[in-house]
Every structure is written in structure tokens, then in C-alpha cells.
């Protein structure tokens, strides 16, 4: 099993955290992983993207240039999603912010209202975790069954009060696509 995911959004939407938590969880589940981020030189805003691969085998190129799945968190990133998704791949769209679907009739488009779900949970900043739940449920590449332990080591102790809402966001994301 190899799942190559390209993640794209706006600086501040948690693209880098999403990619890191996805591969960290995958590693805890015994998979090989690579995570390569790229973002602009801006202090805030600008583009945030990541090449993310999880696999049961040795990973060759760490660059995702023909993605099995694409996560797109904002309208401006739709264009890159259209380009990077492989024939018949899956595009996960943050439908709270994206009103026009990627022009890829061959691809499976999964709508996840990440911001709306996150706001209902009480904090828009967990929109990325809602998306991760959806990604997990649809691709089954990473099960996220060790997620609580992963968050405990990912967050410093001072942020452990946020673990519950992050877990809830992942669960809601899974439900949204089931």
C-alpha cells in the first residue's frame, strides 16, 4: 500500500500540521513515511503545500507529482489540485471555503465542510483535523487509531487541553464522509 497525498492551502490553515500529524500517525501504525513541506517566505498567509507519502514499502521519490489523493483547503489552491491529481484520483475539497469544484471529471471529489464543522465544535483552527478524519475514512491509508498518543507527544504539555477538540474534529471528519 502506498498513498501519495498532496496538501494545499493558505498559510495558517494548518497544512503543515496536518501533513506532520498524518505521517506521525502513519509511522506509529508501522508505515514508512515522507513529509516535504514548501511554503512562501511570508510571515503570515501565502501558499502552504506539502508532499506527503505513507507506504508499507520503501519510499522512492519524496515528491508527490501524481497524487493518489489531494487535500485542498482554499479556493486559490484548486488550480494546483487539478494539476497534481492522478487520473482517477481523489480530491478532498474544503467545501466551507471552496465553491467551485476542481475541473477534473475523472477524479472522485469528496466535499468536507471543514470550517463549518470546526466552528460547530467551537474552534475554526481544527478545520485541518476535520479534513484529516475525512482523508483517513476515505483512503484507509492511516487509521488514526493511535491519534491520542500521537497528540500527547506532538503538543507540549501546556497545549494538552486541546487534545479533546482535535480528536473530536477527526471523528466528525470521519462521520462527514461516511
Amino acid at each position: 500500500m502506498t498513498e501519495k497525498t498532496f496538501m494545499a492551502g493558505f498559510g495558517g490553515q494548518g497544512i503543515i500540521s496536518l501533513g506532520q500529524l498524518w505521517v506521525y500517525s502513519a509511522m506509529k501504525e508501522g508505515l514508512k513515511v515522507t513529509f516535504f513541506p514548501f511554503y512562501g517566505a511570508e510571515k503570515r498567509g501565502g501558499i502552504a503545500r506539502a508532499s506527503v507519502i505513507v507506504s508499507s514499502e520503501e519510499i522512492t521519490s519524496p515528491l508527490v507529482t501524481s497524487a493518489d489523493s489531494v487535500v485542498v483547503m482554499n479556493q486559490d489552491s484548486v488550480e494546483i489540485a487539478e494539476k497534481v491529481c492522478k487520473e482517477g484520483g481523489t480530491i478532498f475539497v474544503n467545501s466551507s471555503l471552496i465553491k467551485t469544484d476542481p475541473a477534473r471529471p475523472d477524479a472522485k471529489i469528496v466535499h468536507v465542510p471543514c470550517n463549518d464543522i470546526a466552528l460547530k465544535l467551537g474552534d475554526v483552527r481544527v478545520a485541518n483535523m476535520v479534513m484529516m478524519g475525512a482523508l483517513s475514512a476515505v483512503t484507509s491509508a492511516v487509521k488514526l487509531d493511535t491519534f491520542e498518543a500521537v497528540l500527547k507527544s506532538f503538543f507540549p504539555a501546556s497545549k494538552h487541553s486541546l487534545i479533546a477538540i482535535n480528536i473530536a474534529a477527526v471523528e466528525e471528519g470521519k462521520k462527514a464522509v461516511s
Binding site: Q20, V23, Y24, M27, K32, V33, T34, F35, F36, P37, I59, T60, S61, P62, L63, T65, S66
Partner: protein
């Protein structure tokens, strides 16, 4: 107890591997894309009561390495391409004085200030000495985070064994990428044997002083020192050459690629193999000494070569030197901070094989 697998950036893994190898002194100066390495050393060297100095420049940092290494301490510096250019005078002095050191280049695109994206444009500089005078440094090229940690760890002992600086030639992708890594066991610098050539040691033993220097104004003496060093280089060539081969035996076309390019080429290899094309990968791990003999052997078996690089074509010259006209040698490269995709490398394979 077995070490746990950790998720780390390449830069951080290099730093932790150096700390575990018993690096006693680190001197650095910030530059993207290797900043996490300097930052990691600031935190972890000081926490262990070892020396960390953010120098006033790259030139200062490499000369601090010279000073620390003269005392026999395991010493290290790191930078990225423009910064490594600035260190070349100091590297030449280290080589002239037969001092060990570990120098890490997390290379970026050039020439000049260039860009901050990954590149392999420093191959010539790395493998041909880089500074003035007759010398080489040992050059190790990791292909990922685990490899970067393992080679950095080993670089210290290799450098001490041969009294030749070791250059770790990574690139911005390897520095910035995160992968799982299992780290080698920590060594305590206090447990290392004293170096008989080091400053200070001779006085303790009641012997005449050791003078660590690269200067020698007597031509015959300087020639003799250079010849002795080159005799050591011949020994290094016999003992140190390393490479990795994947699916080479039955291949018609063999990629020659190191570092990130080797990873991309491996992806292209898999694309080719699933379509019945016999493609192999030869990955030099030591760029100096370069595995000329093995490539020559493969050339005589009738294989064609494609050197894949993130440059305008530098290692391809060594491949041609190895092949000595016995087989066709092709080149595919991207530069300016662009990384070739496995799809475009595969397209080049199809073109060369006429498929």
C-alpha cells in the same frame, strides 16, 4: 534497548547524529535551508555542556573548527552553498594541516546568492577539493533522513581515521524533509583516546610540542607532505568507496544518481520496470572517492548510463571518466531549485530506449 523510531527533519537528524557521535564543538552561521541544524545544535550542544558558537561569519566558523580540531576535539560546522564557498579557504587549511573535521553542506541553488531551493550544483566544488592547493575531502552523499543521520555519525570516525575532513553533501530537500529515523547510540567525548598529533598532548607527555600548521616554506618538505597525503588518498580509495545498486545486473540502462536525484530515479526505475523496461540504479554514496572501477565494469557489460542530477551536468563528467568511452553516457538535469519528477525522468528513459 532498541532505539525508538523518531519523525525528524533531515537537518535535525544530522544534528542529533553529530551530538551522539561525540561532537565536542560546533560552530555555525545561519543560512537557509540548513537553519534547523544550527538551531538544533544551539539547544542540544549547550544542554550537554559542550561548545556551541554562532560565529560572526562562515569564515570565522570554519577557522574555529580548525582551532578546536587542532586540540583533538571532534569539531563540526554546517552551512549551505554560498556559505560553504566562504569556508573553502579554511577547508584548504584543514587539509594542509591534516586535521579531521565534519562539514555539512545542505546545498541550495546557485550560482551566486541563487535561491533557497534544493540543488546539486556543488558537486564540482565538493569533489575537487573546493579551495586552493592539492587536496581532496572525503564526500558522503545521503539519500534521506536515516542515511543523513548514519553518515554524519560515521563521518567523525572516518575523518579521524584518515585525518581528512569529511563533507556531508546533502541538499535542501533532505534537510527540510521529515522521515522516520532510528538514531545510533550516543558516545561520550570524554571517553575518546587522546590524539598524539594534537596541540597540548605532547607537552603533557613531556615530549616536544606539536605544531599544527599548513605552512611549509621549504619546497621539498611541502612536496613530501603532499605526496604522503596523496599516498593516504590512494589507501582511502581502496578502503572507503561505497555505492548502492538496485536492479543493475540485467539492466540495459543504468541511472547514476546520488542524494535526492537517486530517490527520484528509483521512482522512475519502478515506473520503467512495471512496463517491462530493464532499468537499474547506481547510487554513489562516496562522491569522493568516486566508484570509477565499478562503473567501468558495468560499462564493459554493455550497459548505457543516464546521469540524473539537480545541476547542469557535473557528476556526469565522473561517469564519463569511469566509462572511458566503453558505453554511451547521457545526462538529464534540472537546476535553479527545481527537482526533477519521476515522470519526467521516466519520459527521458523512454526517449533513450526508443519506446
Amino acid at each position: 534497548m532498541a532505539e525508538e523510531i523518531r519523525l525528524m527533519k533531515g537537518n535535525e537528524a544530522i544534528g542529533e547524529a553529530a551530538v551522539r557521535a561525540g561532537c565536542r564543538a560546533y560552530f555555525g552561521y545561519p543560512i537557509t535551508p540548513q537553519n534547523e541544524l544550527t538551531a538544533y545544535m544551539a539547544k542540544h550542544m549547550l544542554a550537554k555542556g559542550r561548545t556551541f558558537i554562532q560565529a560572526e561569519s562562515e569564515v570565522a566558523a570554519i577557522n574555529m573548527v580548525y582551532g578546536a580540531s587542532s586540540t583533538g576535539a571532534r569539531a563540526m560546522t554546517s552551512s549551505s552553498s554560498p556559505g560553504v564557498s566562504l569556508k573553502q579557504e579554511g577547508i584548504s587549511y584543514l587539509c594542509g594541516a591534516d586535521l579531521p573535521a565534519v562539514i555539512v553542506n545542505v546545498a541550495r541553488s546557485g550560482p551566486g546568492l541563487g535561491g533557497i531551493s534544493p540543488s546539486q550544483g556543488d558537486y564540482f566544488q565538493s569533489t575537487r577539493g573546493g579551495g586552493h592547493g592539492d587536496y581532496y575531502t572525503i564526500v558522503l552523499a545521503p539519500k534521506g533522513v536515516q542515511d543523513a543521520a548514519d553518515l554524519t555519525y560515521e563521518a567523525f570516525s572516518i575523518s579521524e581515521k584518515w585525518r581528512v575532513p569529511v563533507l556531508i553533501l546533502a541538499d535542501g530537500l533532505i534537510g527540510q524533509m521529515m522521515e522516520g529515523v532510528v538514531l545510533p547510540p550516543p558516545l561520550d567525548p570524554a571517553m575518546f583516546p587522546r590524539k598524539p598529533w594534537a596541540v597540548g598532548y605532547a607537552a603533557e607527555m613531556g615530549r616536544p610540542y606539536n605544531h599544527v600548521t599548513s605552512i611549509n616554506l621549504v619546497p621539498d618538505e611541502l612536496e613530501a607532505a603532499n605526496r604522503a597525503r596523496f599516498a593516504r588518498y590512494e589507501q582511502i580509495k581502496k578502503e572507503l568507496i561505497r555505492y548502492e545498486e538496485i536492479d543493475v545486473e540485467d539492466a540495459d540502462l543504468v541511472f547514476v544518481a546520488y542524494g535526492t536525484s537517486a530517490r527520484v530515479s528509483h521512482g522512475a526505475l519502478q515506473m520503467a520496470r512495471t512496463r517491462g523496461m530493464k532499468v537499474g540504479l547506481f547510487r554513489p554514496i562516496t562522491l569522493w572517492p568516486f566508484p570509477y572501477a565499478r562503473i567501468h565494469e558495468l560499462a564493459k557489460k554493455g550497459k548505457k548510463f543516464l546521469s540524473v542530477e539537480m545541476s547542469m551536468g557535473q557528476m556526469v563528467e565522473d561517469v564519463k571518466l569511469a566509462v572511458e568511452g566503453a558505453a554511451p553516457v547521457y545526462f538529464y538535469g534540472r537546476c535553479g531549485g527545481n527537482i526533477p519528477s519521476q515522470e519526467e525522468v521516466f519520459a527521458e528513459v523512454k526517449r533513450l530506449l526508443g519506446k
